[in-house]
Subunit: 336 residues, 2 copies
């Protein structure tokens, strides 16, 4: 049988309300009685039931975090930062990772009355209306990767990928590269593909001869894993277009791309320079080590929770923009 508050109350010779007051530490209870109650709690190994509590409090102290690829260590780190910050505030985190059916989670969030949700996934994976619907149902939301969101409804934390791409391009340009390919994985047709925007801005600004012939769009379902990098690099190679540097949408793709380039006998960085985004640690164990636009992912996760927490407790949405930093590896070098 389940031990309830009533059992504790009976054993301690008090009412269940008194037990509540002891547990919720609003020191309304005389120390003498509190001691008796605590003893009873211990004796019965009683634990308050969160379900019943959620029922009346209208708070579940549960947060969902939705992401596409749990195996990408980039997200792994973000999750860690987010979760540890959430745990500190007493929240329990649901990690939801479904490669394609993210929408289904949203319905679940509603019927399970989550307090908040952190969605870090590219927007085509879900319907934005579904997201707003969460908000209508009283669930606070923070998004990342979704530039088009209505900031009055949801909080937002974004990486400044446009600026980061500018830095990357300028860096390669300064090394003498002119034929810089970009393997997007996403695509210029997707409005939230900020790196593509930054890329094209720099092609323009630096007056690169390739125009946008070296921008390789991704294809549905816009997967950006290692194997995709391998695939898109081969596409680049097969195109026969001239290039001396390759930027990839993320490190995972960059690592896969390097594999493809090497397989065709190209040396990195002697023949071709390669860069990624994210700064995942695996990049440092590759051969050669990967140059990347890097960031503090744990911190990013923490910050995301903070914004969500503010939203949950004060009801106000917020916005944060995160800057990336160039970390040089051995995968880039002067253009010969």
């Amino acid at each position: 049988m389940k031990v309830t508050r009533a059992d504790v109350a009976r054993l301690a010779g008090v009412s269940s309300a008194t037990v509540s007051n002891v547990l919720n530490e609003n020191n309304k209870v005389k120390e003498e009685t509190a001691v008796r109650v605590r003893a009873a709690i211990k004796e019965l190994d009683y634990r308050p039931d969160m379900i019943a509590r959620s029922m009346v409090m209208k708070k579940t102290m549960q947060i969902g975090i939705v992401l596409e690829n749990i195996s990408n260590p980039f997200f792994g780190d973000i999750v860690r930062g987010f979760e540890s910050a959430a745990n500190e505030k007493g929240y329990f985190v649901n990690i939801c990772t479904g490669f394609n059916k993210l929408d289904d989670y949203f319905d679940n969030f509603i019927i399970r009355r989550l307090d908040g949700v952190f969605v870090t996934a590219i927007p085509y994976k879900f319907k934005i209306d579904k997201l707003y619907h969460l908000v209508d149902k009283g669930i606070k939301v923070i998004v990342s990767g979704n530039v088009g969101a209505d900031f009055r409804k949801v909080s937002s934390i974004e990486n400044n990928h446009i600026e980061a791409m500018h830095i990357a391009m300028q860096y390669l340009y300064d090394l003498g590269h002119r034929d810089i390919a970009y393997l997007s994985g996403l695509g210029r047709n997707l409005p939230y593909d900020l790196r593509s925007i930054g890329y094209r801005e720099m092609v323009e600004k630096l007056n690169l001869p390739c125009k946008d012939s070296l921008l390789f769009d991704g294809k549905f379902p816009y997967s950006t894993d290692m194997m995709d990098g391998f695939h898109y690099a081969n596409e680049l190679l097969d195109s026969g277009r001239k290039f001396t540097a390759v930027i990839c949408v993320n490190d995972l793709m960059a690592l896969g791309a390097m594999k493809a380039l090497k397989a065709r006998g190209l040396r990195i960085p002697e023949d071709v320079s390669v860069m990624g985004f994210d700064g995942i640690s695996y990049g440092q164990y590759w051969e050669p080590t990967l140059t990347s636009m890097s960031m503090d992912k744990i911190q990013f996760g923490k910050k995301a929770f903070e914004l969500l927490y503010t939203n949950m407790s004060r009801g106000s949405t917020g916005y944060f923009q995160n800057d990336l930093e160039l970390v040089e590896g051995q995968s880039t070098a002067k253009c010969r």
Copy 2:
């Protein structure tokens, strides 16, 4: 205001019990009334509240999955398989990943009344008593990686890592290797380090000259990530001991180890053969591709859920042993 069953009942001109009967499809309701009820549900955009339902049903339809390193794609795949199987049965999965404080989750599982838990983590990360305590509280448990568990209390799904290690050793032996190092990450002092057991059995059986001088134990907190492989490989190199092959506890460590070996000018596989366990896809993008004792991780996750499901619905624990298969890459070759 929240839409409740009562609202629907009122609009449809029936009682809330009838609404329940419609929703739970126990066709006790005349089709004519059911139609009216469904119309009311749609009109009000009503959704049953899982919290209230959990309250009375004493089932939350929530399952926790506890793992140590979310970023290891090995676990990522297992989670995917597990989660998709769980979702099909209507369960919502909580992924819990904390590098060290796994115990805390267990308390949470109790007060949140999860129906079941899948723990795939090495046992020293949590107290086994805490695990049994879950069972006492009515939460069904399946473990993986914990050979010592009481099978009457918890279900279990294990990889046959002893056998797999035998296969790996025999394979290297047949290639002519005699000085085969094993970077355990865990350690022979940990009873659940099955690979170490298998290793020592084969050293004995094949009468390898190295005895166990080439078995490198891990150190607390027994992390087995890429950087650990790098670290332990350096330890091996620094020991000055002769070796022609290296087996690592998992692929991630093997990839890190390759980095260290190459950094000292050793060629793989010409100078040294390297093998891992798990068969993660990243291994196929490395240079050279990794030979590994591989397995179907998605299937493993599915199977884990099935066992848990049986446990939850019929109350009977179960056991499954999974076999690994040698997948050759370019990281192993004949010993010169």
